[in-house]
């Protein structure tokens, strides 16, 4: 039962923090709250018996990606007024209506028992080994391709972010 309560606890943290991400005007604060969300999710992964996922969640997401965001925010040195404004377009009512409608449907679907039953023995908690095996045997090709993709992304980001050699339109 403890796990269930922990689950709800971290879920609440994730929801509140993520709301903060989208609502706070200060981008640095938003980024920090994103870290909180991600860590809360990592905790959820542990609770779901996916230690490996939890680890890379913290390492890659919280450790790398968010840092990247923070760097960019700092590098561009954006003021709050510039950054934090809400979009002129907002249809909160409609959006909430949709959200509500979708939630209702979702719950209806869940109550219909459409999901497959859980596999009791499948929840072995120490499955990092199996993840590794799967990654390097069955998913070897996608894995290698993914590494290529990373490389491309690296080059692409360098190319894109490089100082333009052409005169900009405003100049």
């Amino acid at each position: 039962m403890v796990e269930v309560w922990f689950f709800y606890f971290f879920a609440a943290i994730a929801v509140v923090a993520s709301l903060g991400v989208i609502l706070l005007r200060n981008p640095v604060a938003a980024a920090m709250l994103l870290v909180v969300t991600l860590c809360a999710l990592a905790a959820e992964y542990v609770l779901l018996g996916a230690e490996f996922s939890a680890a890379i969640q913290v390492l890659v997401y919280a450790g790398a990606i968010v840092i990247l965001f923070t760097f960019v925010i700092m590098m561009l040195n954006l003021g709050q007024e510039e950054v934090g404004q809400l979009a002129g377009f907002s249809k909160w009512a409609l959006l909430l209506f949709m959200l509500g409608g979708a939630g209702v449907i979702l719950i209806q679907r869940l109550s219909m028992g459409a999901l497959p039953p859980g596999v009791p023995g499948g929840a072995a908690s120490d499955n990092t080994y199996e993840v590794g095996m799967a990654l390097f045997t069955k998913y070897l090709w996608p894995f290698e391709l993914a590494s290529l993709l990373i490389l491309l992304a690296l080059i692409a980001s360098v190319v894109i972010a490089r100082k333009p050699t052409f005169p900009s339109r405003d100049a």
Partner: protein
Amino acid sequence: MIWMVLLFPLLGALLNGFLLPRRSKLLSHGVAVAAVAGAFACACCVFLEFFATRHSHLYFGFNWLQAGKFTAPFELVVDQLSGLMILIITGIGTLIHIYAGGYMKEEVTTYRFFAYLNLFVFMMLLLVLGNNLLVMFVGWEGVGLCSYLLIGYWFQEEANAKAGMKAFLVNRIGDIGFLIGIFLTYKHFGTVSFSELSSWMNLMPTLAEPYPKALFWITLSFFIGACGKSAQLPLYVWLPDAMAGPTPVSALIHAATMVTAGIFMMTRLSFFFYAAPDTMLIVACVGALTALFAATIALVQTDIKKVLAYSTVSQLGYMVLACGVGAFDAGVFHLLTHACFKALLFLGAGSVIFAMHHEQDMRRMGGLRKHLPITHGVMLVGVLAIIGVPGFSGFFSKDEILWKAFIFPTYGPILWGIGFLAAGCTAFYMVRLLCLTFYGTPYQDKSAHHHHHPHETPWYMWGPLVVLALLSIGVGYLGVPDFLAHLVGGHNLFAHYLEGLIYIPASAQGAWGHLHAEHAHELEWGLMLSSVALVTLAAGTAVFCYTNRPVRGVASFLGGHFPRLHQLLLDKYRVDECYQRKIVTPLAEISTFLWQVVDVRVINGCVNWVGYLLMGTSGIASFRMTGSLHRYGFWVLAGTVCVLIISCF
């Protein structure tokens, strides 16, 4: 041997056109003359070989064109007609080539001239030697091409280029007639080979439908072709303009050989023409009218070459008239004599022009007899030959034609009358030409610059003229009409020679019985004497009008009493202007209309309109395309949710 006849001129053309160095005029002239002379030698051999047996020979070259059931081999035939023609072409061609070397002395690009000229000889030989309509057509259009190139030889003058183009295009109208004739022939007979067609027609005792009607259309189509090439009435307009070319070209192409291709072709297809009497009547009428029509124009022209050009049209009219009345042999005989004396006249005129430094207006000549004695002599022979003075070649051939026209059952005397009048005109304008040029007082140049004394041309220019003059007298005796020949116990050698070739198909014998019927010789004598009388009268009038008294000529007479008629004749009946106004200009307007309005506005407009319509529609449909990512994202999400909701029910 026959292949050598063709090969020589072709080789000459290629050498001069592409291979030889272009600097040396002597070299290009030498090569060109050698090529034609070689061809002439070979042609003599071929002819003698043929003459020994009098059997026509077929020479198969290669399978040229084959598609479906249609075949057109590259096949040559040597028979009475083509044997004669190759002699004329290469013989007169050689003389003219020799002459041209002198005439074109001042030119820079003589290699071009001689290449074209040799190519022309090649094409003309192809025309006469081909054993099927298609090979003939190759030559037919080939000579047209050479004529185009040679008329436009001095291409820096816009007018010359235009004249060349006009010649090509008017010829092309005729060529379309020729083509349609080929199509019809193939449709009805399944072959285009002369020998096969001839034997088919020969063996058919009677012609059932649809052949008579088909033959009418076939012959009419071919006649349109002949009209184009032989400058007959509606299509003659190119020939006078063609005088823009160098004079040797006018002599060779526009007098002696190419323009007679129509007569040659009709003679080749005489078996068709005999079987289509309706066409024959049209042919005869067109020929007679052309003869008179052109002769009247020639009466008042002042350009020496223009006079000769209209005279050529007129003489061609005689030949066509001969074909039309069924006297193909007389037509071909006139072709032969005309080739000699008209080439002579043109070359003589060329010598005059050469001596006068490219002056062609006869009003600025006169009294040249002293300066150009040889030219005067040969020109005199030529004029006597063309006007039909007894003893000269034109007399025999023209008289034969007039006689045959007279005995033609339909409108025979009328046709004769027209031809008779034309003969009178011919005598008048030719003597006028002679008087204005050689007699009377020399023209006093009132302008400041000094006028050089004209000099007699060098030997290699007058030499060919003398040969041609001898021929103009001599060849006439080959075709002395029967009634005259009987006086010395002979017969018409020329008609006899052609007998094997020109025959009336069995199915058409009835219509042409008069050709073999016996006629009273008195009538023949009468006609002959009357034309001699007319010629004498006309020539005398001309001498009277023009010697020493150029102002009192027919021009001033007509100009004084009938100014409008005179102007009409001077303007050549304004046919060119009429064509320009009624055909060319409207066509150009239609063309511009089609381009500017139909193509750009209507058709392209429709296409673009579809594009604009789509763009407009998309403009309406894209009003939600604000470019705002938020809105796009919102609608994507909303759509997704909607799909989800719908999928739940």
